[in-house]
């Protein structure tokens, strides 16, 4: 019982709101840091997983991201939600890590070579790519979709995440990754095509398996 109450108290948190929490974190309060971590780790880890190739890499992102957040939390001015600010910090950290990693597949500049259709007259490619059925999406779990996103090649995955999930424009993505807008668009288009195909296949097999069971 005592443990239950303790857990409940812990879950509720000592700090009234995010502003207080952030302020305490900035002042070096250890409890606040722990609370911040426990409060946002699962969400941030989901974000990390989307950008990572696999679990271990996501753990790295999470680690680096939280270090950055804790080091710069005093810069959060309280405008907008803490979570959004943290997301932005995490994305920056992840991109930085991917960029600094000399691994071939992280080399965004190489994306330039991949897109034969890199031109400025790209006619809103995102509109030309059919999306998966919303009903299918609703029937798949978050984890399942994340797993499928992880299967995308690095460049596709990054552009897809930045555009579709985070809502950055192609111009912003191009700047962030050091690629041209045309490349960003072509990467997105390919990512969407692949992902839609995989989502549908996955759904089909899942349905079939459920039926057989």
């Amino acid at each position: 019982m005592w443990q239950l109450l303790k857990n409940l108290a812990k879950r509720k948190g000592k700090f009234k709101n995010d502003k207080e929490l952030a302020k305490a974190c900035a002042s070096g309060n250890q409890e606040a840091k722990e609370e911040l971590y426990n409060k946002y780790a699962s969400k941030m880890f989901a974000l990390c997983l989307r950008y990572a190739r696999e679990h271990a890499e996501a753990e790295d992102f999470l680690h680096e991201g939280f270090i950055k957040v804790l080091a710069t939390i005093h810069k959060w001015e309280g405008k907008g939600s803490l979570e959004s600010w943290m997301r932005r910090v995490f994305i920056n950290v992840i991109l930085e890590k991917l960029r600094s990693n000399k691994h071939q597949v992280y080399n965004f500049s190489s994306l330039q070579l991949e897109g034969p259709d890199e031109d400025d007259n790209w006619n809103s490619p995102e509109l030309n790519v059919p999306a998966p059925d919303p009903d299918i999406i609703s029937q798949l779990s978050e984890k399942e979709i994340i797993n499928l996103i992880q299967r995308l090649p690095e460049g596709y995955r990054t552009v897809f995440n930045l555009y579709v999930i985070e809502g950055f424009s192609h111009k912003e993505i191009a700047q962030m990754l050091g690629i041209s807008e045309g490349t960003a668009k072509s990467q997105l288009s390919r990512a969407k095509n692949l992902l839609r195909k995989w989502i549908e296949e996955h759904f089909y097999f899942k349905k079939k398996a459920t039926k057989n069971a």
Partner: protein
């Protein structure tokens, strides 16, 4: 909104605020990692855990294609490596200088001594007697190494080595017959600790003037066993096994300690090599080590009888305090990268010594060029060096890099 777009919108809504259940690092783990820098054992341990689950190809990619894709043709790179190797070799070709640099007298050392592998005859092993006991008095012999084929663990407490001196199996003192004077004191007791299996062995030092006493006192871990239990006569000649043996060079840690000795030049040499090797990223060394150990042979690291890593079943009893790829020497981390360097001492005679000089360069090249380019460079380097230091010359100049290449490939194919 068109239906197609609704699909992406739905996906966005689903993922934007998604949260995932554990497993992910808890606050405790995060906090622990945060307290340490990236080079901490905890961090490395975490990385190692991550790599352990990666497929071989990925590990291979991380090691050899960790950097940019080589944009250069292999031949010129190999040639550059070859000539640099040749040049380095020429500079080091004077054996006398080399020996003096390493502070021992080659007249009394044979190649067999230097190549202290496991095929040494039993007579090379010594009995230990209490220091104040005359050599004729056999009653106080506390240990005698017997059969050459069996390495029974010697459980003698090694904390107090100063109380012991060495005797050869025939009752004479180790250095008395070889032209090197022995005054029958512990300062001259040329013992090295040779670790085999889980036992500790005292062995006649093959390097009598390198102040093993200092080595024993200052460097040699007292109760640390690093074992490559499958690295025996049968397996050590298989290229891939040999490579792991080399990478795992920590087995011969005591000899490294002995070589580091008290000589100033030794320290300079060691310091130089260390300085270069420090540049080698820990994790990559670790990955290399892990990859090799995973696909080659059984390697285990144990400290005070407790096994920390066993490559056969991947058991890692503890990662926090000590990395599976390194160990703590006198409270300080003794990185596996020393092992990489040290392995190069393992060759025979002059070659073994010379290799010590260029191994760091090879590692540096790997590091510098960071990928297949570095690999090619190293092959060139190897061939250049081996041209000079293998007796056969040209033939080995070709053979060595091929061996290097083949053993690497086999290691990953296994």
């Amino acid at each position: 909104m068109r239906r197609e777009q609704k699909g992406w919108e739905a996906l966005r809504n689903k993922l934007q605020n998604a949260s995932v259940p554990p497993p992910y690092p808890s606050w405790k783990q995060f906090h622990q990692n945060m307290q340490n820098n990236k080079d901490s054992w905890q961090y490395i341990g975490r990385k190692m855990r991550a790599y352990e689950h990666m497929p071989p190809n990925y590990i291979k990619q991380r090691i050899f294609h960790g950097g940019t894709i080589a944009k250069y043709s292999p031949l010129p790179v190999m040639l550059i490596g070859f000539f640099i190797g040749l040049l380095s070799g020429l500079l080091m070709t004077n054996r006398d200088n080399l020996y003096s640099l390493l502070s021992y007298n080659p007249d009394h050392i044979t190649n067999n001594d230097l190549d202290a592998n496991y095929s040494q005859p039993a007579s090379q092993y010594v009995r230990l007697v209490k220091n104040d006991v005359a050599s004729s008095d056999k009653s106080d012999v506390i240990h005698q190494q017997s059969a050459p084929s069996t390495f029974e663990p010697f459980s003698q407490d090694v904390n107090n080595l100063d109380n012991y001196s060495t005797l050869l199996a025939d009752g004479s003192y180790p250095n008395s017959g070889g032209g090197i004077q022995s005054d029958n004191t512990h300062s001259q007791h040329d013992v090295l600790i040779e670790q085999k299996h889980l036992g500790v062995y005292y062995k006649l030092s093959p390097l009598p003037t390198l102040s093993p006493r200092l080595a024993l006192e200052d460097k040699v871990p007292e109760r640390i066993n690093i074992t490559g239990t499958e690295r025996n006569e049968e397996t050590r000649n298989i290229p891939s096994i040999r490579l792991i043996g080399e990478v795992h060079g920590g087995v011969n840690i005591s000899r490294l300690a002995a070589l580091s000795g008290n000589s100033f030049s030794n320290k300079v040499l060691l310091g130089f090599q260390t300085a270069i090797l420090v540049g080698f990223p820990v994790y990559r060394t670790n990955v290399l080590y892990l990859a090799l150990s995973k696909f080659s042979t059984r390697v285990s690291i144990s400290v005070e009888g407790r096994e920390y890593y066993n490559s056969i079943n991947g058991t890692s009893l503890e990662i926090g305090g000590i990395s599976r790829t390194g160990l703590i020497l006198n409270g300080k981390p003794f990185y596996m990268r020393y092992g990489l360097m040290w392995t190069q001492f393992h060759g025979k005679g002059t070659e073994g010594i010379v290799r010590a000089g260029y191994a760091p360069g090879a590692v540096l090249a790997m590091r510098r060029f960071n990928g297949s380019l570095g690999k090619r460079f190293v092959w060139g380097w190897e061939s250049g060096m081996s041209m000079l230091f293998r007796d056969v010359g040209l033939l080995n100049g070709i053979q060595v890099p091929i061996h290097f290449y083949v053993s690497t490939i086999i290691s990953f194919k296994m």
